[in-house]
Amino acid sequence: MLRLDGMSCGYGDFRAVTDLSLEVREGSIFALIGANGAGKSSTILAIAGHVALQGGGITFENQEISTLPARRRVHLGIAIAPEGRQLFPDLTVRENLIVGGMIHDRKAEAENIERVLGLFPRLGERLTQLAGSLSGGEQQMLAIGRALMAQPKFLMIDEVSLGLMPAMVDVCYNAIAALRQEGITVLLVEQSTQRALDIADDVCVLESGRTVWQGTAAEARDDPSLTAAYLGLSD
């Protein structure tokens, strides 16, 4: 569904990601794993159109999208729940959801809000509350819900579990599993590798902007040198 071919990206003269190639299969969950500063967030921001490419290309459903403006990519079915959630703090929960579904009409908007509230019932109790006043877990739910309002085929979620209580992490990961059941392809960026490996089909490990390992999640779990060296996991 999504392919990166030798993609490099960065900010001005700074190169955050170098020569990254990967393919995300339709209907799968792909985990992009690495330490802070590895280039994970830059990668998904480049896919969303917010970070300039410095080389290589991005193909989505056989269409080259490297030069497509960010606002056009959501029309193709690409949505993002970014690092730090980046909600609109002065807007209510409902208004944040409305922004997420801005490319669809009012009828679809109402249906999509119902769908998001079905996935995250707690947001239903907060609809008129300002997004900035939500707890961390609720903000993460809203960030994912806002992205779902665009009816994406391909959803990118950055640091799902960062700063959340375990119960909230469960809620978010259960939602991601449910999205896979609906056929949505997910690109997951995580530092918390255990949860990501548990749910992902495929994994790419980044270090200092370069790929150090790529394969299936099962292979990653079975590779002791990998889990010890890069994933911070050990038996």
Binding site: R71, R72, F88, D90, G101, M102, R146
Partner: protein
């Protein structure tokens, strides 16, 4: 002269500040630019208002024409002056804005150095309130401001376009991720802000019956100080600051306080503009971030 009359007078003047300052806040909120050239759009509105009224005899038509002309001029300013330098530090846009302001003033001077006046000034007359004479034009200005700014507030709060606009002001890149055309939002922003400045220019011209190249200067300098006072980018703070300043001016210019055996009347020592700026300077010295800080 009662306190009520002074309060009303202050609110009427505050509504003019509001018409000007809302546009400045819109631009600052979205682009983080102090749009000094806004003063020239105030003046442009005044010129169009007087000229069209004199030519057609219709003040309403003149008001609409002023809004459209200034609105389009605002969009052109965004496209030609600000958009190419948005990636540069904010002071670059500020300097460009000051330069544009001076250039537009010279343009007005080229058109008519002496200024223009109404042949048959519309919306004239006065009303008496508790011994205070209120100009009908100021009362009309107040209601026009309430309708326009109130309508803008409703648009922002109740419509999808308004929600998209507020989202863009808060986080343009995220708004763009969800398909919002932020360039279009900027154009709309400049159109609305400039049109409101034009309304202020036309309404002020009713009370002065004169529009000259420097007509907008003092109003706009005050409006710039007001948006700082209100907390840069905060619409609520800006509106409160506008009406607070109007009321303060009304009271400060007419009220005397006893000091020993003598009466100190501020209005006899300083004119209203000097009082306003003194107040703004003092408040900003105490609270440089403004009264209301934007989230």
């Amino acid at each position: 002269m009662t306190e009520l009359a002074l309060l009303v007078q202050g609110l009427l003047d505050g509504s003019i500040y509001a018409l000007i300052a809302v546009g400045l806040t819109l631009v600052y909120g979205l682009l983080r630019i102090l749009h000094v050239a806004h003063a020239a759009l105030f003046t442009l509105g005044g010129y169009v208002g007087v000229v069209v009224t004199n030519e057609t005899g219709s003040f309403i038509l003149a008001l609409v024409a002023a809004m459209i002309v200034a609105g389009i001029a605002g969009m052109i300013i965004y496209r030609l002056v600000y958009q190419p330098i948005l990636h540069l530090p904010p002071y670059v846009a500020l300097i460009a804005s000051i330069g544009l302001f001076i250039a537009m003033q010279e343009g007005f001077r080229f058109y008519d150095e002496q200024g223009v006046s109404y042949v048959n000034p519309p919306v004239q007359g006065t009303l008496e309130l508790a011994g205070q004479t209120l100009q009908l034009a100021k009362i009309v200005t107040f209601f026009v401001a309430i309708i326009l700014i109130g309508g803008l507030g409703l648009l922002a709060a109740k419509t999808r376009t308004g929600v998209a606009w507020r989202a863009t002001v808060t986080m343009p890149a995220m708004a763009e991720s969800f398909g919002i055309n932020i360039i279009q939002v900027r154009y709309i922003n400049f159109f609305i802000g400039s049109a409101l400045a034009a309304v202020a220019g036309v309404m002020v011209s009713l009370t002065t019956n004169l529009v000259e190249p420097t007509s907008g200067d003092v109003w706009s300098y005050k409006a710039l100080a007001i948006i700082v006072l209100g907390g840069l980018g905060s619409m609520r703070g800006t509106l409160i600051a506008c009406f607070a300043l109007g009321v303060l001016e009304a009271f400060a210019t007419t009220t005397c306080v006893p000091l020993g055996n003598i009466q100190i009347c501020l209005g006899e020592i300083m004119n209203r503009d000097a009082i306003a700026f003194a107040f703004l300077v003092i408040v900003l010295m105490i609270r440089p971030q403004g009264l209301f800080v934007r989230a």
